[in-house]
Each structure stands twice: as C-alpha cells, then as structure tokens.
Symmetry: C2
Subunit: 481 residues, 2 copies
Amino acid sequence: MDNKKNENFSEWYTEILQKAELADIRYNVKGFVVFRPWSVLTMERMYDIYEKELQNKGHKPAWFPILIPESNFNLEASHVEGFKPEVFWVTEHGNGEKLEEKLALRPTSETAMYKMYSLWIQGLVDLPLKIYQRGSVYRHETKATRPFIRGREFYWIEAHNCFATEKEAKAQVKEDMQTTEEVMHQEFCIPFIGFQRPEWDKFAGSVNTYAADTLMPDGKVIQQPSTHLLGQHFSKPFDVSFQDEKGEKQYVWQTCYGPAISRMYASLISVLGDDKGLRFPFDLAPIQVIIIPIYKEENKRDVLKYCNKIKKSLSNNYRLEIDDSKNTPGFKFNEWEMKGVPIRLEVGGREVENNQVTVSLRTSKEKQTIKLIKLKKFIRINGREITEQLRKEADINFTNTVHHAKTMENLKKALRKGGFVKVPFCSIKMKGKDCADHIKAETGGDIRGIRVDGKEKLVEGDVCIFCGKPAKHLVYVARQY
Amino acid sequence: MDNKKNENFSEWYTEILQKAELADIRYNVKGFVVFRPWSVLTMERMYDIYEKELQNKGHKPAWFPILIPESNFNLEASHVEGFKPEVFWVTEHGNGEKLEEKLALRPTSETAMYKMYSLWIQGLVDLPLKIYQRGSVYRHETKATRPFIRGREFYWIEAHNCFATEKEAKAQVKEDMQTTEEVMHQEFCIPFIGFQRPEWDKFAGSVNTYAADTLMPDGKVIQQPSTHLLGQHFSKPFDVSFQDEKGEKQYVWQTCYGPAISRMYASLISVLGDDKGLRFPFDLAPIQVIIIPIYKEENKRDVLKYCNKIKKSLSNNYRLEIDDSKNTPGFKFNEWEMKGVPIRLEVGGREVENNQVTVSLRTSKEKQTIKLIKLKKFIRINGREITEQLRKEADINFTNTVHHAKTMENLKKALRKGGFVKVPFCSIKMKGKDCADHIKAETGGDIRGIRVDGKEKLVEGDVCIFCGKPAKHLVYVARQY
C-alpha cells in the first residue's frame, strides 16, 4: 500500500478499493458502482450471518416488489416529506408509453409492505408479525457518494415488525440493538455506541430512532444499523389493525430495523485494515487459507502434489486455494496480505520432506512450522483467535476516541482530534434543534444523541454547552460521514 | 386441497399459492406479486445450492447496478430490438426533475456488465472471466402473469462469461447444461429435456440458445434455465477485447446462462406436489421435521419436555419445529402435509414412556415407531430416500409424456394429450419459420428445437410434417406457458 491508513485515510480507502478489486466507480450512472467478487464474497457471508441471527429471533424472509405506487408512498405524511426528494421514479415502459401511475424505485419498503400487512393481520393469532427482506434500495443522494459508504444504490436488510402492544414494540427495538451487538460487534468486529437520536434526526415517520454509530479511522462517525419505533404512525393510515379479545379494533405497534450490509462492509475494511491492506475476521475472509507452493523444476511435482493433499484435507471445512500463478513467492505474499487472507501456508521441498507446513498469520509477523497432522487443529484455534484479536484491537482504538467538553472552545478542540465528544445539552426534543444548528455551524459537529445503555449521568449543575440553560442530557457530538 | 392436481391443475395451483401462503397477488402494481416466507425460505435454499455449484465451477459473484443507461442498452442492435418493448424506464427523480438520460430497470444485464468487462479485460491473464450475480430483473410482459411462472419482476441468477476462443465458449454452454442437470434435476428433482432452440426463438443478440424444457401437470411446457452462445455479437460493440500472444487485438467469445429461481420454484411445486399439497426434496423444505405433541393436561409437561429434548438433539442438523398451537392434532397433520414438511413426528404419553417417536413420511401412508436413539440415523437415511423417490416419480411421469407424429392430424391429436410430440421438420434456420408459424396456428404447438443430447435420428425418407420437403431434424413440439 502506498498510503498509511491513519495518516491519509481517504487515499488509503481509494487505494484499497482499487488494489483489492473491491468496487469499480467507472460504471456510467452517477452514484452507482459495481461491487466486485472480492467484496461480494464477504458481503454475501455477512448477509448469511445476519439473516441467520434474524431467523433465530423469529423473523421470516419475504420478497416484496421493488416498485411502489406513488399513492402508497403518499399515505404517511412525514415519511413522504423525508423520502420523496430522493426517489427515482419509473414513469414509462417500452418505447415511451406512460404508466398509469408513477412508481417509486423503493428507497425503503414501509409503504410497499404495510399495505400487505393490512391484509395479512386480522386477529391476535397473526401477531407478532416479524418479516424481513434482503435487497437493494435506491436514493437519489445529493451528498457526494463513495463506494460502500454512501451511494445511490445500497444493499441492506430491512426487518418490519408488528405487535399488539407498545411494550412489545419497545422490546423489539432493544432486541434489534442487541442483534447489532451480537452480529456487527461480535462477528464483524466493528465496535459502536448505540444512541437515541434527537428528534430532528429521526427516521421520517418514526416516534424514535435508535442507531449504532461507529468511527472511521479519520475520526468521523458513520451511522450503522438503526432501528425505529414507529408507534402507530403507519398502522393508522395503512389500516394495519386487529380485533382484540373484546372484539374491538386496535392498530398494531410497529418497528423497523435496517442493517445496511454494503455500509457495514465500509466499516469492516476501514476499521480492521492496516498499512499492508485488508484484514478480515476469519469467518468473513473470501479465502481463509492460501497455499503458496515454492519449488524448482525438479521438485515441482512433489510440492504441488503435497499442496493438493493439504487442500483436499481442509476444503470441506475452509475456503482455501493454491496460488500456482507465475508470480514470485514474494509478490504472492504481498498480494494475499493486501487482500486480507488470514492464514498463509508456504510449502517447499523442506515442508514436503518433513510432513509440515510453514504458517504465517495475517495478524502476526512471525512464521511457524506446523506438522501436517496438527494443521487442522491449528487453523481451528487460530481462526478463532484472529477474530478475537481484531475485535480487541478495534475496541481499544474505539475506546480511546471518546472525549469530554463543557465549553464550545473545548468542543472545537476535541472535535479536531476526531471521535466523539460528550457534552451537556439542553434538549433532544425539537426545542434543542436551535442549539444543535449553532453547534454544527461553529464546530462542524452533529449531535448524535444520548446513549441507549444509559451508562452516564449529568453532573449536578451542568448547563447546555451552547445556550447555558440547565442541561437535560449528556449528548455525544461528532463530525459525520 | 379442494382441487386435484391432474384434473384441474390451474385451480390446484391457485389453491396451493393461497393455502400454503406462497405468494400474494394483491399487491397494487400489475404483474408484481409478494413472495411470502414459505416460498422464500425454499427459494433462498435454491439460490444457495445453485450459487455453490457455480462457484465450484469457477464463477465468481458480483453485484452490478440495477439501472442501465439507454445508451448502453442501444449498443447491440438485435438485443435492443428484442428487449426494448419490455423495459421499465426511470426518467425522473424527487419532485419530478428529469434525469439527463433515461435509465432502464434491467431486463437482463448484458449491457450493464459488458461495459465493465471491456475495462477489466486487457490480456490473456484476465481470461477466462466467469462472473455471475443473483438478483431480480424487470420485464413489462404483455402475456398474462402468474406467480412464479411469469411476472414483471422475477428472481434469477445470470452468469456472464468471456473466453479467448470460440471452443471454450462452446464448452461453457455444455457445462451450463450439465449444471442444469446436476442442480435442477438431481437436487430439485425437476426432469427436463435440453434443446437447441430454432433460429427464430433464440435469445436476442445470441448465436444460439440452448434451453431446458420441463412440463407442467397440464401437459404444457415451461422453459427453465437457458444458456446462450453469444459469439462476438456483444464483444465487438462493447469492445471487450484482449491482446493475444502476438500482440494483436482479439475480441472475446461470450456466453451467458440464466437460471430463474422463482420460475424453477413454479416447476418444483407443480411437478412434486400432490392432492394433499406441497412435497419437497428433503434439502429444500422450509421445515424438514415437524414435531406434533399430543397430550392431556396431566402429561402436558412431560410430553413438551420430551419434544424439546428431541428438538435440541436435532436442531444442529435439521430445520425443525414443534407445533404447540391450539389446533387439534388432526388439523395439524393436514396443515403440515399441505405445507410439504417431509417428516412428521408424533409425540404422546406412550412415546415418552417408551423412549420412542411415531414417524410419518410425507411420501408414504404408513406410520412407524422409532426408538429415540435411532432417530437421527432414520432421518438421515429417509431424508435422502424422500428426495430419491420424488425424483424417480417425476422422471417416470416425464418419460411418459413424449409422443410421436408424422402427420399434422396425429400431431393435433397427440398435443391434445399434452407433453412433447416428436415430428420430422424441414429446418430450424429462419427458412423453417414459415412452417413453424403454420403449425402454431393449426395446432397451438411451438417448435421447441432439437435435442442437445443428440439421442435421436431421423428415419431415411422422413419429410417435414408441414411442407413435405425432406426433413432435416427431428424436432419437439409442445404447447407452452
């Protein structure tokens, strides 16, 4: 790599996209990119893990149409206000024939799904309803797009749930944050803080938004999965209702949850990568073990035979390949390090003779010699440890980026260092928006909200960092993507 | 089920869609349906199996944008002629702002992908290139739509390949047909015949189209995965080229292959279902084993505890559930038979006492008593056998539906029985189209093409069933979906 991640992150990011062939920005529609195999193999695995966890928690998959009639879209007032400016519209077919009604290329699927929920839900027996879909959504973003970070097409999962009671809906929102922890943090090794967003930054149509914020190496925050308490904002206009025990009509309580796989991939490579290139949790690497044969003409056959024997013995359990291309071993070492393969096996004449392999881990500088008979166990144990190590490193870096400030001057200074700054603040209801706007204008920082884990309390007498009125919350401020 | 599959298939199909909650046609965009969890769980599994096989054969996954600029689309003349009438166009965004260029919602992705291939392929080292994507495509069909069978949105895989030589491209087409055999026939239990399509029925832009035709229970044929030899028809206008060993510019030879998962699902449920409802190959069932507890108040706790013990011991290897709803056991038996669960376990007081379960297979009428200790092995063996049995049944039914005719009169009669009719025919080049049109007008039958396995030969002196000129081929005729 020509660039250093912590010195010039933006260039590092551009370089890794190209060198590891993750995405190609040359597709000729603005804001749309092509995701290439080396990223898609990992993102497909991320989908698998996420979907499995959702299914474990009682969500079921469905596929809803990608096109939404304008009339559906207009049903919930603040939703349409928030999303309409970003919609791509299908208006014609064939040789220019107009459609009867404009169709939105879905920017999110509430208004596609809830019309059907209204048909499917009649009584208590139909509740709770927990359905998700994997798919892509479309938003005509005006902000600059960047592969994986922000684009006009992105790949996500959206889970949309209905409950008989508000209490269950609130419990679902907690469960969703827990899922983010279990999957994004534990499996993908991306640390985050969960926030309740201020009123002015919530999802269009929601009662409250809860979101996971993580940090990029340049100290800017990026929003990861968010979950929204929708209350009855949609169930009333969409008539999603049921008869209760007394035979009375009740509207359901709703939530939705949106882990964006392509965006989590941006965090994955940025948080875990280093100055040699990509690093992956063992389970997410497109290739987990790369075998590099090193031979001369006279022992070529023996070395390759031995490599194939290793491959065969491991390929039921791991994704592994032999790199028998014409490049030099040194070139191959760099190449596969850059691509983030967690375990490299070198096999030469000496390895064949002694029934062993020379092993290098992507996360360590040392080489080790392992007897072939112990290789399977070695990979099993070290695979786990690689993931643990990456998560621990990421956690430590993340913890060190939370600062404090009680004055605007200190806030400005702290924000320059990057990361989060905790400040006392007047209100996360709409009446606090004025202070938030001033803070944004003066410091470039956004109010990300209050921690959902309630770990911190204000000190008696704290006042809002901007207006000086008594503080109601300790909020986190950060510059955002 | 109220309808019998072989007596009134169309009603049977409508009934199973509703009763098993496979799809909902009430979505308010014409030709678009909602695919519900019970079908999606199986289709996701079908995707997994198909993608795994493609990856085994060296294809790599990518994600290309869903929107294609009109200018890309127009590059290959016969492609645009074939597909443009069916395109949905995105023309606006936000509050009615016009886009600079109209964007096609992809009906197929040649014109999205090959522009990028042109950038990616420079030399022999970049070949072969074998990339696929899973996704949905959009066609403004004028034919009547039917869930899974034909719709304006369908779910498929498209694999697009580039080679240095025509020979390799032709070998790929054979490999694709082999993949159809290995996956669709062997794993999904759907028998088919592979045809080379006549000139007038090939894919728009191809040199030749090879397609798998299977039959629905009403005797009409449905096209399943097709693979196309594209030659250099696209590589020239899209400039997908490489420098050969001599440093000269050569255009690549291309193929593409399109297994449509949602359409294969139509065949799966239609071919394998019976008058009780769905039947699945063991590996494709959303739930593989259903446990029905049967208890009175006094032994409820013991029975449920025993059920949970069984579930726990099997849930690492199988998808299984306990149905502890309030319905009667008889209702549950019918319900899960209709939904196609391959293995049912009944657990009552007697089973608990004797450490056993009572087992019923969806494919057999008898019940058996199995000791708990032998259950895992029983399921493993019978799971395999259920799949074998379904495939054998389907094969036998399929074989019996190929007839012969040498006169138009006999062709008409034979087509009334349903299935394929083999007839001698003048030409599958464009000069045969006139005869094909007449046959279609008089009998309703389409020329499906000549068998790719070359199993059959004309008899000396055979003449075209319509024009009476010397026959060049034995072609298959069938009424189609």
